[in-house]
Each structure stands twice: as C-alpha cells, then as structure tokens.
Symmetry: C2
C-alpha cells in the first residue's frame, strides 16, 4: 500500500482501481488518503457503486467531502444515497457551498429529511454522530418474527446486534434486546422474554459525545440509543465512540501543550493554519509573561545589590512551573474521567497542599546542598553570605512548589466553573501563571532573609 505513490496511480486509474478492489475497505480508504483528491476521485469512479459506498462510509477516509464534490452530480447523488445517513451528514458538514445545497436537494426525500435532521445537531453531540439506521421491533413480536425481520434488513443497517423493542402504538422505547440473547431464545416466545430486565441505558441527542463514550465503555455496550421524547431517533455505535475518544484525547494533548487543537493530521495541515493555531496562545502567554519583566523592574534595586540572586531565577521559576504542570495534568484527567467533581475542589486542595510542601522541601534540600557544595568545592563563590543565600533559595522553593501545585490543581476547576473546558489549562498556561507569582515570592523571601546583609 505504501508504494502506491501518486504518480504511479495517475498512470492508470482503471488498473489501480482493479488492484485496490481486493483490499480491505479500510486499506482502500488509507490508500486514497495518500493520493491527491483528483486521482482518488478518478479511482473511486472506477469502483462498482456498492464498493465505492463502502469506502466512503469509512470514517478513516479523510476528505470524503472533497472527493464527492469532485464527482459529476449523478454519480455523487448515487453514492450519497447509498451511504449511511450519519456519514452523509458528516460529509455535508464539511462541504462548501454552493455544491453542498445542490447535492442535498438532489437526494431522495427520505434521505434528505434524515440528513437535514442530523445536520441540525451541534457538532460533538450524540445527535451529530448518531446513525439513523438501526433495528427496532414492536413488543408484540415473537423472537422468531424479530429474527426474520433482522435477516431481511441486515444488509442496510450499521449494526444489528442491539434491537430496540418499541411500544407499537406510541413508538416509545420499551426495552433493549441483544442479538445473542435473541438467537438463544425460543422462536415462539415473545421478544420481551429475552430482553434485559433492566431499564435501557439511553442518551439524548444533546448529550456530549464524551459522555456517550463513557456510558458505552461503562456498560460494555455495542450501541446506545439516542432518545427524544421517549422515541429512539438514532443510535451511537461503539466504532463512532472509539473515533470520538481518540480524536478527543488528541485534542486534549494538543491543548495541554498550549495551542488550539488541530482539525487535521499534522502532516496534512497547511502552514498558515498551523502558525495561526499556535501563534494565538503563544502571543497570549507572551503578553502575560511580560508581567515577569514588570515584576523584575519593580525589584531592580534589589537585583543591583545582589546580582547573585539572579543566578537562581530560572531554576526557581521552572520548578514552580513543573510542579504546576504535574498537578494540572492530574486534575484535567481526573475531571475528564469524572473521578473528581467540581464541588470536590477542596478535597483536591487538601491533597495538593501537603504534596506540594513535601515536594518543595525535597527540592529545597537539593538546592541548598548544591549551593553549599559549589561553595565548599570552590566551583563558584557566592560571597560571605552564601549560607543565607542557600536558605533563601530553599525557602523560596518550598513556597513556589506549594503554590505551583495548588494553582495548577485549582486552575482546571476554575476554568470549568466559569464555563470553559478544564483541558484548556495547558502546561504553558500554568507555568506563566506561576512564573510571575514565583518572582514575587522569591524577592519577598530574599528581602525577609537577606535584609541587613546583602539587601
């Protein structure tokens, strides 16, 4: 697959299509991803419609919207009609006007209605990732009738492993039956006899996709029904959820790295887009960090008297930032996994306070020993008051690591409280927050310890 370079492929799309046709549909998608859009569209046109639809239904196929936009109207409509409704909605979500409206209008009324409804849900919700193709059965059916129905519709449904049993009159969800229990049941028995005795786990179309993922993972489901006013309007399957989880954790890591999350893979994103996504936060952090220059200006006279103090500024500041970054990463994940709740912030603060003090004492001892060693071994002369300087550095480290741990752990809570994503609390954000305070702590401690000697 790796050797299908674009130039080879462009030579003969018919032959390339024939070659690719034997591969697994996920591998075909991967091969098309590696080609320029025009070449990929050409190959797609040489596939039988059914196989082209299968390829386009792969969430791994990256620019399905561009591929379809490149095809002639008739061919594009045929493919869109065959594809699953959730995938079609996804394609239209990214397609540009006026092509988008033209193609939506060409769909048959039923598909058009389903797609328009999906497009109405905000991105990231259960409604936006659900599929409308699922299996349901009225509660009056027997096990045998339900199985016969599944056999008939099997080809056209994304999953048939969960069957939703509805009230025949109100069409409301009554119970969920799994295919495994169904095939183990007596054909003549009522379908509800093999249903799980428990209330079905459901979500609403507005439920966040991360919460859907958590439910599916917690209850080991293959799909969860999306319910509105008691009726099943779609299902979110475990595949959709894995994709959502993977995308989500990539965004979390990128945000934690101090940038806007990318919408495309690293090697595909354009230069301007890349710079834009990174420059925003970098500039914001830079402007905040300018407060350090102001803080240092404020202490300029102390700096002039005791230039030796400047030597430890980077060391002290980075220790604060590092301890803050640790605490933030812990709390971001704990909040994301619902291990801690917003109202439990004080329990976290009560854990971070002693942890921070302990870590600060450890670093403080190492720092003081380093200064004493260099002085004794003659590597550097910190002057006659070297012991007081060592004490200043050690005391500052205790203060700054404690402050870093507390600030780093509280920041995600504060962000969530004021309505932001706690994962916006990036490592550089915390470091910047701690840097300014760190300098103030350092010079305040220095003034307290060194007044009358160095200062």
């Amino acid at each position: 697959m790796q050797d299908n370079t674009p130039s080879e492929v462009l030579l003969d799309p018919v032959m390339s299509a024939a070659d690719l046709a034997h591969e697994h549909v996920a591998d075909i998608a991967e091969a098309l991803n590696a080609m320029p859009t025009e070449a990929a569209a050409e190959i797609l046109q040489h596939f039988p419609i059914e196989q082209a639809v299968e390829v386009l239904d792969q969430p791994e196929l990256e620019s399905a919207d561009e591929l379809i936009a490149t095809l002639p109207d008739d061919h594009a409509t045929a493919l869109l009609t065959g594809m699953s409704a959730d995938r079609v909605a996804g394609v239209f979500r990214r397609m540009e006007e006026p092509r988008r409206s033209t193609l939506i209008e060409r769909l048959d009324p039923e598909t058009k209605h389903a797609v328009k409804r999906l497009l109405a849900y905000p991105p990231g919700t259960a409604g936006s990732i659900m599929t409308t193709e699922f299996v349901s059965a009225p509660k009056t059916w027997t096990v045998g009738q339900t199985l016969d129905h599944i056999r008939r519709v099997e080809r056209t449904r994304e999953t048939v492993y969960a069957i939703y049993v509805l009230d025949p009159r109100t069409h409301k969800l009554v119970q969920t039956v799994s295919l495994r229990r169904l095939i183990a049941g007596e054909p003549g028995a009522p379908v509800l006899s093999v249903a799980s005795p428990r209330r079905p786990v459901t979500v609403s179309p507005q439920t966040d996709q991360e919460d859907v993922a958590r439910l599916i993972s917690k209850y080991d489901l293959l799909a969860v029904p999306v319910v509105e006013r008691g009726r099943v309007i779609g299902i979110v399957t475990v595949d959709d959820v894995i994709d959502a989880i993977v995308r989500e954790s990539t965004e979390d890591v990128q945000k934690f790295g101090g940038m806007e999350a990318l919408t495309e893979p690293y090697m595909q994103i354009g230069f301007v887009e890349m710079v834009r996504k990174r420059a925003g936060w970098l500039c914001a952090l830079f402007l905040s960090e300018m407060l350090t220059a102001s803080a240092m200006q404020h202490f300029e006279s102390e700096l002039e008297k005791a230039i030796v103090l400047t030597l430890f500024i980077p060391l002290i500041m980075s220790s604060g930032g590092n301890s803050g970054s640790q605490a933030t990463s812990l709390i971001i994940r704990a909040l994301a996994l619902r291990e801690v709740r917003l109202r439990e912030w004080w329990r976290v603060a009560l854990r971070e306070l002693p942890t921070g003090i302990t870590l600060g004492v450890v670093l403080g001892i190492i720092g003081a020993v380093r200064i004493a060693l260099w002085q004794w071994l003659g590597f550097f002369d910190y002057g006659e008051h070297w012991a007081l300087i060592a004490l200043t550095v050690a005391a500052t480290l205790v203060g700054i690591v404690t402050f870093g741990s507390l600030a780093g752990s509280m920041l995600p809570f504060i962000l969530q409280r004021i309505g932001f994503d706690p994962a916006s609390a990036s490592a550089p954000f915390v470091a910047t927050l701690v840097d300014v305070t760190g300098l103030v702590i350092y010079f305040t401690v220095a003034l307290a310890i060194l007044s009358g000697t160095l200062l």
Copy 2:
C-alpha cells in the same frame, strides 16, 4: 448510589446487598468502589454467586484483587472459577503472595492452565488483555450447526458476535464469520459461504495493546483474534480496547505533565505513592535545570555590566519552553496515531523550521514594541541603548522560538529511536532542555549586538 456512605453500608450488608442487587452490574461495581474493602467484600458475599461473578468481571471494579483476597478460600475459588479467564489473570497480576499462589493452586486444572498462560504475557500486550473464551467452528460445519453451537455456549462466552472458523485437522484459523452474516445465511449452507472473502485481521500475543486498539478501530471490528502459529489462542474485544485506550490517554497526559503515570484514580492513590510518582521527574528536571545557574554564572560579568538584560530572562526562557511544548504535543500525538513515522523526522523538521521562525518573528516584534512603548511612555528607562536592547530581545526570541520548535518536535523522535516511549517527552522536559540553550542564545546574541555599548 452516591449516598451509600460506608457507615450506612456497614450497618447491614444483607440489606445493602439486596438493595444493590437490582442495579446494573456496572453501577454495583461503582458503588463497591466507593466503599472500604471489608464492607464491599461483605456485600459481595451476600450476592448470589452468579451475580457476584458478573460484578467481579467488570473491569471498572477497582480492587477486585483485594476483595477476593479478603474472602474465605472456598468462596474465593468459586468466584474465580466463574469469572472470565482474562479478568482472573488481571486479578492475580495484582494480588500479593502468598494468597496468590494459594488461590491459583485451588483452581480446577483447566482454568489454572488458561490463567497461567495469560499471566506469562507481559502487561500491555494483546496476550495480557485477551480473553480465552471465544466461539470457534470447524470449517466442515453448516450455518445451522454453527448457530446451534452458539446457542449452547452463548452464556459462557464474552462475545459471540465473531466466530472463528478453524481447519478441523490443524486447528488453524481459516476465516472469520460475523453473527449477523450467519443469521442471514441459509441453515444448510456451509459456514464458509457466509464468511468474509478477505484474509482475517489478526494480532500476535506480543502485539502492543495500542496497536490492537488501532486495528479494531480501523477495521471497525468487535473483536480481533490473537493468533500464535496459525491457531487462535484468544480474542481481544472492543470493550477491552476502549478501556486500554482511555487508560493510555490518561497516562499520556500525566506523562506529558512531567510525572510518572498513576496506576490508580487521583482520589484513591496514597500520599506517599503520589509524592514518589511526582518527585522523581521533579528532581531530575531540577537537577538538569541547575545548568541554568551554571550558565548564568558563566555570564556573570556580562550580567553585572548590563543588569537590564536580566529583566527579560523569564520572558525569553518561557517563550522557548512554550513553543517547544506545542511542538512536542503535536508530534507525540502524530506518532501515537501513526500519522508520522520515525523515518519521516526530517519532513517534520522541514515543517517546524519555517513555523518556528515565523512564530519567533511574531513574538520578537511584540517584544520589541513592548520595550519601545515602555521607553516612550516613560514607564521604565532602559537607558540610552534601549533600541539595541529591544533588538537583542527580538533577535533572541526568533532564535529561541525556532530552537524550541525544532528541539520540541525532534525530542519524541529521538526518544522513540533510542527505545523509549515518545510520550515521555513531557512539557517540563522540553522546557528544561530549551531553558539552558535559551540562556546561552540570549547572552551570545547580547554579546554580538551590545559589545562596545553596554557590554
């Protein structure tokens, strides 16, 4: 559920068990997680064996090993015999000796053999998370025979949705059949007639669990067979994989935050363990960061001559660290998702170089404007050479942001190349790396620009 405080529960385990018995098994696990081990074990003893087994089979139940270790030998053995082999192996992996050996020896020979084999695979591999309970059928069977077999064994298998068709003589894997295709097939037709025409996707027991997750997600599988010398020795199901992905991304965020990944949820981990996991990296980073003190000592005479230069040290260092942290977070995820390969490091370097220069120029301009503004507005007097100082700061920012982006993006590659997890390249690690170099760049640029005037 949240209101089951431990004290209430301790009042009457029989009543609590009766209360809980009606809940979903995942909710029971959650309720037991919130209790002290003794209380949870007491409740578990009052459940019917079958339900207790179901609860213990939940990967969400956090201290199944301690719970089982607390129970009398007979009861523990009965539960272990009922549980799925992969879960039993997971329990034994964490149980302490001598209880572990005692209980393993009490298992029936078949379970003991299965568990011992699972325990032999290193943690994090397909072999260590696979279940040995799957459905297989000889290729000589018909669709009807296979369905009858599934009906018989359904209760004892973790999943029945993928059926592995074996050669009856060699027991080697021939093909995979899905239950949905099977029920849609003619009962009299050979089972292979409904098999997928493609070669089955398989993994080896040594395959990393992340790679298994990627395959399951890519090919939209419900389970992937683990194959050794052509024979299926177990399967990894989509549930196991979701748990593995979630655990993995938590570890990645924690490692990126600059600490050892926690093995337990934040609120459950002990104080000493927490300090230990954080102190290791914090001390290592602190010791490396000491090089900044050495670098500053080296430039002490310059510092004394131009104290004004110290004002910008925090600003410049943090900009290098922030741009490095961005680049690292991007590359860690790109490598984890296989968007970039190790040998493509040079393509990444070619992207990061212009990106870094552009970002550096942006920050450089902001920095120079800030100095010029403060000077003009009279907020601070940088002396007669303020323009040269502004130039020094701007030029340094270009250099340091470029270096930060390059170093940050290359670090994960270097780590992977020398056999480490690229996700060990944490934000604090990169910041520390860039800090020392940043100081050297700053003073070198300053010497070049300010020689003869300030220096």
